[in-house]
């Protein structure tokens, strides 16, 4: 509870009441002063608006009277038949001269007027109408000119409307350039009526920008200038605005700035009006000029906050005073209520002291009211309380003395019982444990709480040593003791962990408070028996250990033997690996020498490619020259030795072709690539090889070709195959010392290509035949052959999954048979 003390409750209630009263009074005062402020503002605004109205109306109405007077003269002259064009121009000029504020004046005389019938000044006539316009030029001289567009609707309203209504007219403000500057102007137009017949108009163009300055000056006098005074034409055009001159000429319905739009919305009727709108207090009063039907308006607007500025200040002063008063009232009430409730607090304090045990308390009060009576009753209560307590204290003392005696006795017995080294148990008649000492708890290794309530039989094995059931035996013993025959016996017990131990028990019957109990005094005799048992166990354990160790030794021996065998096996493996290493070393040596050879071939390749290019270019010259010469030869007659020249030219061509073939063949051999997927034409390869070997063949060897009827293409490495056939053919050529024959036969027997190269050379002995493909084996003299040729050939054929076979007979010749699989994709 927020207000749980009497004091705060009372204080709160009175403060609330005071606040409400003050609140109502202040609100009323503020409302009243606001009303007053509005009234004052109304009066002030009205006065300012009137001044604007008077200024504008005075000026415009004055000008209208000038027109009226002027028109009365025209009417009179016309009536008397003396109105001429020059008269009318002179009259208007004099009026214009008298009023320097006017921008210009004009007249339009209808054809029914006299001056229209005047034949002079025809340059100012239009369709029988006399239409002069007089104005000040930039030097301040009065000029006369002809009007235009006076009969167009809108532009000519100043003429057309008065002609129709026969009433004066004030046009809407419009912007007009005078001497290069835009000026806000209005036109005042007054009809000339003779016997209610319209004979023309006269007008004044008036520059009304003066009203803007007037409004600005006026605004400064009101509310520090924070006021908006606006003059609005009948059609809604802003003629003056004290706050923003840029608004001049804009229509109030088309203003885009939000603030100003708010200011001018809601102007509907032409009556005087004062109202609040969008945070402004707005006064709106109409201005009606002369005899026209188109009233303008003046609007004065002031921010609402400004009007109530003073009122708000007063309101704050009132509220501040109110708050001070309320605080004062609350403080006073608080003190008063405090005095009332202080004795009550004292009573409460005393009650607390009594509760705390101090009963010497007395409350003193001088008050005679309800609080005083309460204090007296309280004091009487305290006296009575003191008496009761004294009696109680006496009784308690006596009880305490008796208790002390009892406790002494109890203590002695307890010690006897608890500190006995034997276990002492009190059993009820069924044998359940009712009480026991610490030794009992130690014997059974169970806490006393666990032992209590347990039956002695439950703490025994099912059978005693003599094989009699524990339960049966216990029942007999119990019944005997209960018949006053104390018993002594040995017993087998189980402790809390289920371990058995042997005790001697003496069992007696005792009576306590008339109930029979059995007292059991128990002594442990287990220990000696237990030690014998342990000795036995140690011996057994030792024996077991010895047997285990013996077994482990046997096992270790077995493992050693197995390891030995494994080592022997590994030795063998190492031996064989050694062997392998040896042969690998041998292979490496071979590979190294083959690599050396490849290196040579590669260098040779680079060389031949360069040489080929250099030879091909001069060959190209010769070929070019040959073609050129051939043409001349064919077109001309060489009567004396025609045939001879033909032969000579042809010799050029053959020479070029043969040289080119050699270069091409060389290129084939030097080509270096690892691809096994090139198109290889077997016949071409054989021919290329023969071309290169041509100089060795010369005339002593006949080459016999028995080629398969069409080209044989296989997939392989063209460079390597060239080398292989080159080696075989070279061996064949070198084996022929005198004259001989080399026959080359190719055949295609699916899926293999078979090439047989037979020579009639010296042949190879059977002994050597086995070694021909062994690297570095050669029958030639040192320096003549490397002994690598057939070894490389063998490897190349093997790479192409082919076979290489040799048949030879000493003195007769050799046949080399090459079998290559035709793994060409096309077949």
């Amino acid at each position: 509870m927020l207000f749980n003390s009497l004091r705060s409750k009372l204080t709160f209630a009175t403060s609330l009441t005071a606040s409400i009263i003050l609140g109502v009074v202040i609100t009323y005062a503020v409302i009243a002063s606001k009303k007053k402020a509005i009234e004052a503002a109304k009066i002030e605004f009205h006065e300012k608006a009137e001044r604007v109205t008077l200024k504008l109306k005075g000026t415009i109405d004055n000008s209208f009277s000038v027109l009226k007077t002027q028109n009365t003269i025209f009417k009179t002259l016309n009536k008397n038949g003396v109105l001429t064009k020059s008269t009318s121009i002179d009259l208007i000029k004099s009026n214009l001269f008298a009023n320097k504020d006017y921008v210009g004046m004009c007249a339009i005389f209808e054809p029914n007027s006299l001056c229209a019938k005047d034949t002079s000044l025809n340059n100012l006539m239009d369709k029988n109408l006399f239409i002069p316009y007089m104005y000040y030029n930039s030097e301040g001289d009065i000029m006369v000119n002809q009007l235009v567009d006076y009969n167009l609707e809108g532009i000519g309203d100043y003429y057309l409307i008065p002609k129709q209504t026969k009433r004066p007219l004030l046009t809407e403000p419009y912007s007009y350039p005078i001497n290069g500057e835009d000026v806000l102007m209005v036109t005042l137009s007054e009809p000339i009526l003779q016997n209610n017949e319209f004979i023309g108009i006269t007008t004044i163009d008036y520059d009304i920008h003066f009203i803007q300055n007037f409004c600005q000056d006026l605004a400064q006098e009101v509310n520090n200038g924070n006021v908006n005074i606006t003059v609005i034409s009948n059609g809604g055009i802003i003629v003056a605005n004290s706050a923003n001159a840029l608004l001049i000429g804009q229509n109030i319905n088309e203003i885009s700035a939000i603030n100003e739009k708010q200011l001018f919305s809601g102007i509907t009727d032409e009556k005087e009006k004062i109202y609040f709108q969008n945070g402004f207090l707005i006064l709106n009063i109409p201005i009606l000029f002369s005899n026209t039907e188109t009233p303008w308006r003046v609007q004065v607007a002031v921010p609402r906050a400004d009007i109530f500025a003073e009122t708000s200040q007063q309101a704050w002063v009132l509220i501040s005073i109110g708050i001070v008063l309320i605080l004062l009232a609350v403080t006073l009430i608080n003190i008063l209520v405090g005095n009332l409730t202080r004795p009550l607090f004292k009573l409460v304090e005393s009650t607390k002291r009594i509760a705390g045990g101090d009963i010497t308390v007395e409350v003193k009060t001088k008050q005679n009211d309800e609080v005083g009576v309460l204090a007296e009753s309280f004091n009487a209560m305290v006296v009575r309380l003191r008496e009761i307590i004294e009696e109680l204290q006496n009784s308690i003392k006596q009880v305490e003395i008796k208790n002390t005696e009892l406790a002494d006795k109890e203590e002695k017995f307890r010690k006897l019982f608890e500190e006995a080294s034997d276990a002492i148990l009190l059993l009820d008649e069924t044998g359940s444990i009712f009480d026991c000492n610490q030794s009992a708890s130690d014997y059974f290794q169970l806490k006393k709480e666990k032992l209590l309530g347990k039956n002695a039989v439950d703490l025994s094995p099912e059978y005693q040593i003599d094989t009699v059931s524990s339960k049966e035996k216990a029942l007999q013993l119990l019944s005997k003791v209960l018949q006053n025959e104390p018993q002594e016996f040995e017993w087998e017990h189980l402790n809390g962990k289920g371990e058995s131990f042997t005790v001697s028990i003496s069992l007696n019957k005792i009576s306590l408070s008339g109930i029979n109990y059995l007292q059991a005094i128990v002594r442990d005799i287990t220990e000696k028996k237990q030690k014998d048992k342990e000795l036995e166990m140690h011996r057994n354990h030792l024996e077991k250990l010895v047997s285990e160790k013996t077994h482990d030794l046997a096992k270790a021996y077995e493992e050693l033997r197995a390891t030995n065998e494994e080592l022997n096996e590994k030795n063998k493996i190492i031996d064989s690996q050694n062997q392998e290493l040896k042969s690998t070393l041998q292979n490496l040596k071979e590979t190294q020498s083959q690599l050396l050879h490849s290196e040579k071939m590669a260098s040779l390749g680079i060389l031949t490619a360069g040489v080929a290019h250099e030879i091909n270019n001069p060959l190209n010259y010769i070929m070019g020259a040959y073609v050129g010469l051939l043409r001349h030869y064919e077109n001309n007659s060489f009567s004396d030795n025609y045939e001879q020249i033909g032969i000579l030219i042809n010799a050029l061509k053959i020479g070029v072709e043969r040289s080119s073939a050699i270069v091409q063949g060389l290129n084939q051999f030097s080509r270096k690539s690892d691809s096994l997927n090139e198109d290889c034409n077997i016949h071409e390869i054989i021919n290329d090889s023969l071309t290169i070997l041509q100089h060795q063949i010369k005339h002593h060897i006949t080459i016999e070709k028995k080629f398969f009827h069409s080209d044989i293409l296989i997939k392989g490495n063209a460079g390597n195959l060239h080398q292989a056939f080159f080696n075989i053919l070279r061996n064949a050529i070198q084996s022929i010392t005198a004259e001989g024959l080399i026959s080359i036969k190719t055949d295609y027997i699916k899926p293999n290509v078979i090439i047989e190269i037979t020579d009639t050379g010296t042949g190879i002995s059977p002994n050597n035949l086995e070694k021909v493909t062994v690297p570095f084996f050669t029958t030639k003299n040192p320096g003549e052959g490397t002994g690598l040729g057939l070894s490389i050939t063998f490897n190349i054929i093997k790479e192409h999954n082919g076979q290489l076979e040799f048949k030879s007979e000493l003195g007769k010749g050799t046949t080399v048979k090459i079998v290559l699989p035709k793994n060409d994709d096309n077949e």
Binding site: A609, A612, H613, E614, I615, N616, N617, L619, N620, Y621, I622, M623, G624, A625, V627, G628, R631, V656, S660, Q664, N667, R671
Partner: protein, 123 residues
């Protein structure tokens, strides 16, 4: 009647003067032959003779080799036929140019008149 302008216009580039002269003599019978001694000259000639249909170039030339010249020319005039005429066997460089379509064909030196005329006339 045919006029000079009806003959196929071919450009031949080689840095060796004799080759250029011979080419001019031999191929002028059937074609209008323009010649130059370097790739740079070739580019200039092509700019003057937009209607050149075939370009044949030597491979090994100083500063700008035949393939470099053809690459440059093809960027500007992709619709002409380009050929290499070289004393070299087909090298890896030439093979790549053939595979990528940079050149239409490779001719070996000494030239084969029929082979070249057949290629040109395929236009």
């Amino acid at each position: 009647m045919m006029t000079m302008s009806d003959k196929i216009k071919i450009l031949y580039i080689d840095d060796e003067e004799i080759n250029v002269q011979l080419f001019q003599i031999i191929f002028s019978k059937n074609y209008e032959v323009l010649t130059g001694y370097s790739g740079f000259e070739g580019i200039e000639i092509l700019a003057e003779h937009i209607d050149t249909a075939v370009v044949i170039s030597d491979l090994k030339m100083p500063v700008m080799n035949g393939l470099e010249f053809i690459k440059k020319a093809k960027e500007k005039y992709p619709n002409k036929k380009y050929y290499i005429l070289s004393g070299f066997e087909i090298t890896a460089e030439i093979k790549e140019a053939l595979d990528s379509g940079l050149i239409h064909k490779y001719f070996g030196k000494p030239f084969n008149l029929q082979e070249i005329e057949r290629a040109i006339n395929k236009q």
